[in-house]
């Protein structure tokens, strides 16, 4: 097990470095972060040269890459080209926000999806099962950004027609969020719509998966045996079927979490939420390679870690899996 983990990690580090160079190359070769300066009728030539020199923009790309690597290790990812802003504090801030969003959405999604999935499996072909399946299919076919837009339109109109404020449509908190309960309330109202958007997306995936794996377990031999032994139906379901049906779900959730942490780019962008995804989107628009690179490194690491967690969790939950 340990050797497996170490091997995976070592391999990932090599991959990360290879990927980082490729991405650095593309971002640098096709963009000039100082272009906005060159556009101003009165911009000072000396200043542009100074920044170019300080940021090594005049060097060939491989040299710039090495400077970047040096910055990453000795200077916490360095500073932005435009504004010399330290990158790490910004990145930590947005990560905190994304964590709040993703954890809230995933908790709701997991609880609901398990409920829906298990119930649909136990009552296969019931009205509930059909509606759940329909929901899941429609959910899977709906683009997230469109759902987010529709939710915004809906709640802005609820406010306009009934003068009831249920959710805010942008940002992470109000102008005076207060403390304690009022802070939580304010945060919940601001995070509400993005959380719903993300949760619907996850529920559609998870519930279908939960239903399938529950069905498989319920129809398996050992559950049939347990039932034949005369165990109470409830006990069969809970003790034997449910637990085993959870195993595959855990893997999917871990994989999905890695992806979600990399930023619910679309959701955050529609709701102008100061999270990882929106940060990345904005930096891409600015065309500054340094924050983009820092972001990718952090996210790629997260994805690697979560994939590993998924593997390990699977190994722990399912005793048949062995890592060599």
């Amino acid at each position: 097990m340990l050797t497996y983990v170490v091997r995976r990690l070592l391999y990932s580090i090599v991959v990360l470095f290879a990927a980082s160079f490729i991405i650095f190359f593309f971002v640098s070769v096709s963009n000039d972060p100082l272009s906005f300066l060159r556009m101003q009728p009165t911009a000072s030539e000396i200043t542009i040269e100074n920044i170019s020199e300080r940021k090594h923009l005049d060097e060939p790309i491989p040299v710039r890459y090495l400077y970047w690597v040096q910055d990453m290790f000795t200077n916490q990812f360095g500073t932005t080209t435009i504004g010399d802003r330290p990158i790490l504090p910004d990145l930590t801030r947005v990560m905190g926000h994304t964590l709040q969003l993703v954890i809230a959405a995933e908790l709701i999604a997991i609880l609901l999806a398990i409920g829906i999935g298990v119930y649909s499996a136990l009552r296969q072909y019931s009205a509930f099962d059909y509606s759940a399946t329909t929901f899941s299919f429609v959910g899977l076919a709906t683009p997230v950004f469109w759902l987010a837009l529709m939710l915004q339109v809906l709640f802005v109109n609820i406010y306009l027609w009934f003068d009831i404020r249920i959710f805010y449509t942008a940002n992470l908190s109000g102008i005076d969020p207060g403390t304690g309960l009022s802070f939580l309330l304010d945060r919940a109202q601001h995070l509400g719509l993005p959380v719903i958007t993300l949760a619907i997306a996850s529920i559609a995936t998870y519930s279908r998966f939960m239903r399938a794996s529950m069905l498989e377990v319920v129809n398996s031999d050992y559950v049939r045996t347990a039932r034949a032994k005369g165990l109470h139906e409830r006990k069969v379901t809970m003790r034997h079927a449910f637990r085993n049906a959870l195993i595959p779900l855990v893997t999917i959730i871990a994989l999905n979490l890695g992806a979600l942490l990399s930023g619910a780019v679309v959701t955050e962008t529609v709701f102008a939420l100061d999270g990882m995804g929106f940060y990345y989107y904005n930096q891409l628009l600015l065309g500054d390679p340094y924050p983009v690179m820092a972001w990718l490194m952090v996210v790629a690491t997260l994805v690697v870690v979560f994939n590993l967690v998924a593997d390990i969790a699977y190994g722990i939950l399912d005793p048949r899996v062995r890592y060599d």
């Binding site: 990932s12 990927a19 593309f26 709906t142 529709m150 339109v153």
Partner: protein, 333 residues
């Protein structure tokens, strides 16, 4: 409908499609014989067809998809006006009998815009599906058939692609490569095709894994040994003997890739890193319409509904295909 491109759900669907007996017709045949209802031997395909046609939703979906495909192939026959026919006196008009989906900010008939956008989006999805199927099948087949170092190298590469944060990479690639058409020597690639290539580059991995699985399980089988012994070349064995056994999972996975490609391309175009205006695509139509705000609801709503319908249809077809081509799944479904 995860926020990320649909690779994860392909995992879900694809995972089920792998089985040692990929076509798995045996069970059904036996049943028929046992009940003495059928005497005529039928091919695998006719059974698959029968099972598919039993899936009513899939059938309806197939009809819908067929219609949209015709519309997309010949948009000029269906669109009431050209996609760029401006009517500056009739800007941003709501849906009416003259303009079923209203007009956009330049007075262009929005139904026509949506139809031409549908064409772009479907073509892109179609190309992504074809490209990723070819690449995925080739890589999976080689890895599974040759095994050893080839397998190791190819699968490490596949893992590498799988560990990339998909949407982030797509956005970066779209931002830095996909803003205009590219030319490779004498071949010039249109901008939507650049986007298709970028998508395909990330979408073949699941299929590669599935195909590899099937090849691994079959390459030691007697019929392969026999083919080898009779002097069949590797490529012949791969293509003629083993590959037909993978058709089920390949078809299912490809269908799901189409759905994923449509949704992902729409998201990319919506964010401004996908297909660029003035080329209409469903995603950038929504982005353009969204600029108009709540007042122009039709500009956001209609292309969205079209996306949902197509993705839904494709998913249902995928489901039907799985039922048809991989009956072991039916116990689960």
């Amino acid at each position: 409908m995860t926020d990320q491109p649909r690779r994860d759900s392909t995992v879900l669907a694809g995972a089920g499609a792998v089985s040692a007996d990929p076509v798995g017709v045996g069970t059904d045949l036996n049943l028929t014989y046992e009940s003495g209802l059928e005497l005529k031997a039928r091919s695998q395909w006719s059974y698959a067809r029968i099972r598919f046609f039993r899936h009513r939703l899939a059938l309806v979906s197939l009809a819908i998809l067929f219609l949209t495909a015709i519309v997309a192939l010949r948009p000029g026959w269906f669109a009431p006006e050209g996609p760029n026919d401006q009517d500056l006196l009739n800007i941003a008009a709501g849906p009416s009998m003259d303009h079923l989906m209203g007009t956009d900010l330049l007075g262009r008939d929005y139904l026509s815009r949506v139809i031409f956008g549908l064409q772009t989006s479907l073509w892109v999805a179609f190309f992504v599906a074809i490209l990723s199927t070819i690449v995925g099948t080739a890589i999976g087949a080689m890895a599974g058939y040759y095994g050893g170092i080839v397998d190791n190298l190819l699968m490490r590469f596949t893992d590498l692609i799988l560990t990339l944060p998909t949407l982030a990479v797509l956005l970066a690639a779209g931002a830095f490569l996909g803003q205009q058409g590219q030319s490779l020597g004498p071949i010039s690639i249109s901008q939507p095709m650049v986007i298709a290539l970028i998508l395909a580059f990330l979408f073949w991995t699941q299929l590669a894994r599935i195909v590899r699985g099937v090849f691994l399980s079959l390459r030691e089988k007697e019929f392969v040994e026999a083919a080898k012994a009779s002097g069949g070349s590797d490529s012949r064995i791969i293509i003629r003997h083993i590959l037909p056994n993978c058709v089920g999972p390949i078809v299912v996975t490809t269908t799901l890739v189409i759905a994923a490609a449509i949704l992902t391309e729409a998201a990319l175009s919506f964010l401004g890193f996908g297909i660029q205006p003035p080329e209409p695509a469903l995603g950038n139509l929504i982005a353009e319409g969204n600029v108009g705000g709540l007042g122009y609801w039709w500009l956001v709503t209609f292309p969205g509904i079209v996306i949902v319908i197509i993705a839904l249809a494709v998913n249902f077809i995928g489901d039907g295909m799985r039922d048809a081509l991989d009956p072991t799944q039916r116990v689960r479904a």
